[in-house]
Symmetry: C2
């Protein structure tokens, strides 16, 4: 599968961020065409400076991810994210599951 | 599920890093007790400065993740990672899958 990952840094106002993320942003992102999984985590630091929030948008393949990235829904979702008061690092690509 | 995520920055010698990661590090990490999934991705930047490599170690729950983190295998795996010539950010915690 292919994934878009958004690493949010600690927001200027975490309480407002959480409320707006939950009530506004999750509904917006959930409308992305072709979205198959949407995962969230607030991780605990083990080494170095971790993100505040990790958001993952999963798609079946590169084509459906690219189509979602070009969609009007992604335009709206991205613009909303930019107004949440937290820096973002965004990256994408295939995720390989190893045999273990 | 619970996940340990390792974000590697661009290695000083990417070719050697890749060879040692594949041939030495993956076999070491695959021995971690309770490891259920092991995923790797070399993402493409969309905004900001992305990691070079994202490694994800998945466990059923907090208890099995904690047991793995305290294991001799994790000591060996972590020491090996530190010698791969890339900075690391490491974080852990539960990952919530949203209903979409």
């Amino acid at each position: 599968m292919h994934r878009v990952t958004i690493l949010y840094s600690t927001p200027t106002d975490p309480e407002t961020f959480e409320q707006r993320y939950r009530d506004e942003h999750v509904p917006l992102a959930s409308r992305l065409p072709g979205l198959k999984r949407f995962a969230l985590s607030h991780p605990r630091a083990m080494q170095g400076d971790p993100p505040y929030l990790v958001a993952e948008l999963w798609f079946d393949d590169a084509e459906s991810m690219k189509a979602a990235l070009k969609s009007p829904e992604m335009g709206e979702t991205g613009a909303h994210a930019a107004g949440l008061g937290a820096d973002m690092v965004v990256f994408s690509g295939p995720v390989d599951e190893l045999e273990i």
